[in-house]
């Protein structure tokens, strides 16, 4: 039997739209956010394909061309620079004081910053969400104890913990440990140019804020009807947590995490700046700034690439975060 055609007036005037497509539409209208996403994708592509768009060797020194600049950059230099500066058009944007190509180092530096941004936010999101979910869902004494721990850690000066951890990791890496698990960690760290321990140090301390937010979100929907319904039909706790509660809280958490990314990038740059970040000669924008800052009177051109790259990246993450928040979670809108 054929299904009867519904009368015209009962059909929807326009296609139904999901919450998701509404959000994406809102995001699309935000030109700054879309522009930022494009910029970030470009930076990511540059970082991934760094060997193809640079000389490919960020550590190679050309000692006959230290502090060299190409001719076109002369306008950036202080007055009288043509008397002391060395010219070499071999470099797109010049070389640093050890004769290393600044363009190559800046592009490779993006790898570090983006890696820190991705790893730190993922770790903090995962650990914080799971911690907050358990604490909020189980409730009672468990919740009290878990939140007491978080409160205690919250009063801790985190920057200092990160600095101490990095000092420890770096010293251990320098001395080497007598084989086994520690040695494996050290060699992983070495193969990543010192990034691995940086990830651990940053990741270990940044889940706490996320845990608090996740718990708050869980508490707000734990008593909702659909959770009761799931319980009533006998769904196990694990299923309720991951299939019913998690999808409902994950949006705001991701938005908050995106807004935290510039902080991670700053932290990496800062640690590298004070010599506790990645190991030389791995280029990080923080290291490049710290190397260029003392020579700013004579070679200001060396400061610009890492400074601009760092600013543009954090700016793009900030605009993207604001855009995502406005689009996906209008309740959080400023």
């Amino acid at each position: 039997m054929a299904v009867a055609e519904l009368p015209a007036h009962t059909q929807l005037a326009r296609k139904p739209r999901s919450l998701m497509s509404d959000s994406i539409n809102r995001l699309r209208k935000n030109k700054l956010a879309v522009g930022s996403i494009v910029v970030l994708i470009l930076i990511m592509v540059a970082a991934v394909f760094a060997p193809y768009i640079t000389t490919g060797d960020f550590a190679k020194q050309d000692l006959m061309a230290n502090n060299a600049i190409p001719h076109w950059m002369l306008f950036l230099m202080p007055k009288g620079a043509e008397n002391y500066v060395r010219f070499s058009d071999k470099f797109i944007i010049g070389a640093d004081d050890l004769g290393r190509d600044l363009w190559t180092r800046t592009v490779y530096g993006a790898r570090i910053s983006l890696a820190v941004a991705i790893v730190a936010s993922t770790v903090s999101l995962l650990v914080g969400t799971v911690y907050g979910l358990i604490s909020g869902y189980v409730g009672g004494k468990v919740d009290t104890i878990m939140m007491r721990i978080v409160d205690f850690l919250y009063g801790f000066p985190f920057l200092i913990v990160v600095i101490l951890l990095q000092t420890y990791f770096k010293a251990v890496a320098r001395r080497g440990v007598g084989g086994g698990f520690g040695q494996a960690m050290v060699s992983i760290n070495e193969s990543m140019g010192g990034m691995f321990f940086l990830f651990i140090a940053i990741g270990l301390v940044n889940w706490i804020g996320m845990a608090r937010i996740a718990r708050g979100q869980v508490l707000s929907i734990r008593r909702k009807e659909f959770v009761e319904a799931a319980k009533a039909v006998g769904a196990p706790d694990i299923r309720i947590i991951f299939r019913h509660i998690l999808p409902n809280i994950v949006g705001p958490l991701i938005v908050v995490e995106t807004l935290a990314i510039p902080g991670y990038i700053f932290l990496e740059a800062f640690l590298s700046f004070i010599g506790l970040g990645v190991d030389a000669p791995t280029p990080s924008w923080g290291i490049m700034i710290s190397e260029a800052a003392p020579g700013i009177r004579t070679y200001p051109n060396q400061l610009l690439p890492p400074a601009l790259a760092l600013t543009i990246t954090t700016l793009a993450f900030n605009f993207m975060g604001d855009g995502l928040r406005d689009a996906f979670d209008p309740r959080l809108k400023e």
Partner: protein, 350 residues
């Protein structure tokens, strides 16, 4: 109120103790010691041994810890409680009696000396930066919120995002480049090195304010712009939320002047998020001052902190960390107290 304060201050004790314990033992399990290198050369083992003996580094860690906490001569009357060698040359009275011990690397200087000499500069830098941040950020946020979606608002919002995105790491060298090298308006690196000297928190009569601010301007500005952007964003967001609330409508309905509605009723509530971030911001200021002091060549506590870590000067590391932690916990307490004043609905005894 008083009970709340006392309870909170008592709550600081475990935090401070944990910080001391973690730092103390972490510093000692880190491979290498303070006397591995002096300059670039390594010392002969016999000299290292003598130096370690002088600073009690040859003791077992628990004994070092006790002596660090309570001092290495500890007697009640004539009765010696701990036999911790009272005649050792480098003795201290212990943290509990306010003595942070001798520095391992700066001969003849105690940690108290070093902190006393360098902390005033860092404190002045931090406090002035926060004040600058508030003075620029709060009005900018208020104007932005009151004229929502005007060109003024868009400009302010954009500049604020720009402000939070430029780290002080970038801001400081750029300021030096523009204002010190190109324009020559401000000195780049002589705050605290040329008169007027700032050796303590108290001013001498005839203090040269003009010169002081010329030296302080760039470091404070480099640190303060980021803060002001953060304050402006928060202020705008929270004020926008507050002015939609019922009690604001009530205030308007009973015929209050718009100025009174905004500044007496809305602002107080709207300041809460701003106050909330000031606490953690003190922690952020530590990072800020570290960078600023490094770039501007200021002889502040942050610079010593970083240096003492690379030098393995455990006593200085611990001392500076302790000072930072104390500032942090007390600023958190002040924030909580400010909540109660700003929003009577928030009760402190909870």
């Amino acid at each position: 109120m008083l009970r709340f304060i006392i309870r909170r201050v008592l709550g600081f004790i475990p935090v401070l103790l944990a910080v001391i314990i973690v730092t103390f033992f972490l510093a000692r399990i880190i491979p290498g010691g303070p006397f591995d290198f002096i300059g670039d050369k390594s010392l002969p083992p016999s000299v290292v041994k003598n130096l370690e003996a002088k600073y009690h580094l040859d003791w077992p860690a628990w004994k070092q810890f006790i002596s660090y906490m309570v001092g290495d001569e500890w007697k009640i009357g004539s009765f010696t409680v701990f036999d911790l060698d009272p005649n050792a040359p480098a003795h201290s009275y212990g943290v509990l009696r306010g003595d942070l011990g001798p520095s391992f690397r700066y001969r003849g200087q105690t940690v108290n000396d070093i902190i006393g000499r360098t902390f005033p500069l860092s404190a002045q830098l931090g406090v002035m930066a926060i004040i600058l941040g508030l003075v620029i950020g709060i009005p900018a946020g208020i104007i932005s919120a009151l004229k929502q979606n005007s060109w003024l608002d868009y400009t302010a919002t954009f500049v604020a995002v720009l402000g939070v995105s430029i780290p002080s790491l970038v801001m400081a060298p750029l300021l030096i480049w523009i204002f010190s090298i190109e324009l020559g308006w401000f000195p780049a690196a002589t705050w605290g090195a040329k008169p007027p000297y700032i050796q303590n928190m108290f001013l001498t009569p005839g203090f040269d304010w003009g010169n002081y601010f010329i030296h302080a301007a760039m470091p404070v500005f480099a640190l303060g712009t980021g803060l002001s952007a953060t304050f402006a964003r928060l202020m705008r967001a929270s004020l926008l939320q507050v002015i939609r609330e019922d009690y604001i409508r009530t205030a308007r309905a009973k015929g209050l002047h718009e100025r009174v509605v905004i500044y007496r009723h809305a602002l107080k509530n709207g300041l809460i998020p701003v106050v909330t971030v000031i606490g953690p911001m003190f922690a952020g200021l530590i990072t800020g001052t570290l960078v600023i002091e490094q770039i501007f060549g200021l002889n502040g506590m942050g610079k010593h902190f970083v240096q003492s870590i690379t030098n393995r000067d455990y006593a200085v590391v611990l001392g500076t960390i302790l000072v930072y932690t104390i500032i942090l916990v007390f600023s958190n307490l002040l924030v909580d107290l400010a909540y109660g004043w700003l929003d009577p609905r928030i009760r402190l005894d909870a």
